[in-house]
């Protein structure tokens, strides 16, 4: 990990808002979007990996995501730019901007345990993505939202096993409506049973909020012509 990212991670874990703002401002002196790719994303990925390995706690992951989200939402509005073959369109900042071309939804099912969803939202927003947050809902209502909003990638965070099992109902309802978004899932039941993802008809499971970012990027690449 680069020294700058290491220092950024240390500032995040210490919840040193001043240092974090200084580093983002410094890295984004010419292009305010550069810190997203060079600082925020690698730092949040590292924090997520460390949590998966038992090196960091959930509270640290949550606070890191929240601090980054606060910072990034202060940046200029992230509006889509036309894609082209010019060199600039391949810059990290331009890649972040292109994230707006994918319709992403996020929800929990029948559950008021919202922290997992909140953490995924923070990491994705801090990485330049925009999401439709459907809050807590049931499979039928969620399927209707997904169809209405033409969602291409649907993220589902669950804590309880019964909620995880209801994803089957959601997939059935979406299939009946002729809508096939990629369903990405996360939460304790999926960590404790790697086969559960396939069982409920989801496309992939992530172990952490940083995993969600990686999965969304992969889905985005697959969906981009």
């Amino acid at each position: 990990m680069e020294a700058m990212v290491t220092a950024f991670v240390e500032a995040l874990l210490a919840m040193d808002r001043l240092k974090i703002e200084e580093m983002v401002a410094s890295a984004g002196a010419k292009d305010p979007l550069v810190p997203i790719d060079y600082l925020v994303v690698p730092a949040l990925e590292y924090v997520g990996e460390q949590w998966e390995q038992g090196e960091l706690s959930l509270s640290q992951v949550y606070m890191s995501g929240r601090l980054c989200e606060e910072l990034i939402t202060k940046l200029p509005p992230l509006t889509p730019l036309p894609l082209g073959d010019d060199e600039d369109s391949h810059s990290p900042a331009a890649r972040s901007l292109r994230a707006h071309n994918i319709n992403i939804g996020i929800s929990t099912l029948d559950d008021y345990h919202l922290l997992g969803k909140r953490m995924v939202c923070a990491v994705l927003r801090a990485s330049g993505y925009q999401l439709c947050d459907y809050g807590t809902t049931d499979p039928t209502t969620l399927a209707a939202h997904v169809v209405r909003d033409q969602i291409q990638v649907l993220l589902l965070s669950v804590l309880m096993l019964p909620a995880a099992l209801r994803i089957k109902e959601l997939r059935t309802a979406l299939n009946a409506a002729g809508q096939c978004p990629r369903i990405l899932v996360g939460g304790a039941p999926f960590r404790f049973d790697p086969n559960l993802c396939q069982e409920v008809g989801a496309d992939a499971a992530g172990a952490s909020a940083a995993d969600a970012l990686e999965l969304v990027r992969a889905a985005e690449e697959a969906l981009t012509p």
């Binding site: 706690s57 509270s59 606070m63 559950d111």
Partner: protein, 363 residues
């Protein structure tokens, strides 16, 4: 390799209480004690919905009684569901037909309203009284077998009282309000635990997932969760098991004897052998079968999981076989539970001399 020994070499058969007390004393009983922490399965035994089952303590008494006989369980588990505590505080409970009743929206939405909270009186809560009646009824029916009561730790209850995100904000940004809430929760936790002991519970399981290293940094646990647990457990008038509800604890295990807990509920995410070495005769480990994966185990998988857990933590006593979360999912079939019970009978008999000869459980 064989698990069969001449009858003369087998330990004399103990009662469940003798078995548990022996292992708590860090000695080997006749076999590894089995705590199948079953709650909702009692409804299935009686052909009732989960809602109707928990509505009447007589159902819970009968359900626990039948399940102990069927699965050769070494305890009765008087836990109804976690949200019963927040219901007593005034929150909503949502019933499901295939899972534990869940807490609805948070009780506290505005952190300042914590100042107006009052701990519920146990005797005035119809829900908590049903639990006490179930404990008393089980004790009247069986005077000897351990009955496990349950409380949520003051440090973990706010996840349901406030919602997790609001609680983390409270922890990091409002220390004075956090301290106030902890004082309220400690009063309730101690009253609730002691009421269950008075009704006939043998021990209390103190659920504290927020203290696990999965959720809190070890240094934060030492500053907060540990201090609160130590203060609270000291006021509970019976033995206490501290349970992290699937959260990891290997980095804090050396801190745990000081809390006063005698038993630690451990995660499938932790290395049971490493925990056993770290517990070093000071703590009894409870765990750590993977309850989520258990839904799809066949007989061979159940047997292998039981063997591995026993091989890692059984020798020398100080171990109770259980699941890793403190509640077995409703989706786990009876056949799997019977396979676990059979495997404990076959592989859990002391002395565990099969372990050294079995390549499937050794590195």
């Amino acid at each position: 390799m064989t698990s069969q020994r001449p009858a003369s070499q087998l330990s004399p058969v103990m009662t469940s209480l003798q078995r548990v007390l022996t292992t708590l004393g860090q000695s080997e009983p006749d076999r590894v004690p089995l705590f199948l922490l079953l709650t909702m399965h009692g409804a299935r035994e009686l052909g009732l919905s989960i809602h109707d089952y928990f509505a009447d303590p007589q159902h819970v008494i009968e359900g626990q009684w039948r399940m102990r006989l069927k699965y050769r369980n070494d305890c009765y588990y008087a836990f109804f569901y976690a949200a019963i505590e927040t219901k007593a505080w005034g929150a909503e409970v949502i019933y499901l037909d295939n899972g534990p009743p869940n807490c609805g929206g948070p009780l506290v939405r505005d952190l300042e309203s914590i100042r107006q909270l009052q701990p519920p009186r146990v005797a005035e809560s119809p829900d908590l009284r049903r639990v006490l009646d179930a404990i008393a009824g089980l004790r009247a029916r069986d005077g000897a077998t351990p009955i496990i009561g349950v409380v949520m730790a003051p440090f973990s209850l706010p996840v349901m009282q406030l919602g997790f995100e609001r609680y983390l904000t409270l922890l990091y940004e409002h220390p004075e309000l956090f301290d106030h809430l902890m004082r309220l929760n400690e009063v309730f936790c101690v009253d609730w635990a002691n009421a269950q002991l008075k009704a006939g519970a043998t021990a209390i399981c103190y659920f504290d997932p927020v203290s696990s290293q999965t959720i809190s940094r070890p240094e934060d646990f030492r500053r907060r969760g540990k201090v609160i647990a130590t203060r609270t457990i000291a006021q509970i008038q019976g033995p206490v098991a501290m349970h992290f509800a699937s959260g990891r604890c290997v980095r804090i295990i050396e801190d745990l004897p000081a809390t006063g807990a005698a038993v630690i509920g451990v995660s499938a995410d932790d290395d049971l052998g490493q925990l056993k070495r770290a517990a070093a005769g000071q703590l009894t480990l409870l765990g750590n079968l993977n309850g989520i994966a258990m839904r799809t185990w066949d007989t061979a998988a159940a047997e292998q999981a039981v063997k591995q857990a026993i091989a890692a933590a059984g020798p020398g006593g100080g171990f109770i076989l259980s699941d890793n979360h403190g509640e077995i999912p409703f989706q786990v079939p009876e056949e799997t539970l019977l396979a676990i019970a059979d495997a404990v009978e076959r592989w859990g008999r002391y002395p565990l001399d099969w372990i050294a000869q079995d390549a499937t459980v050794t590195d």
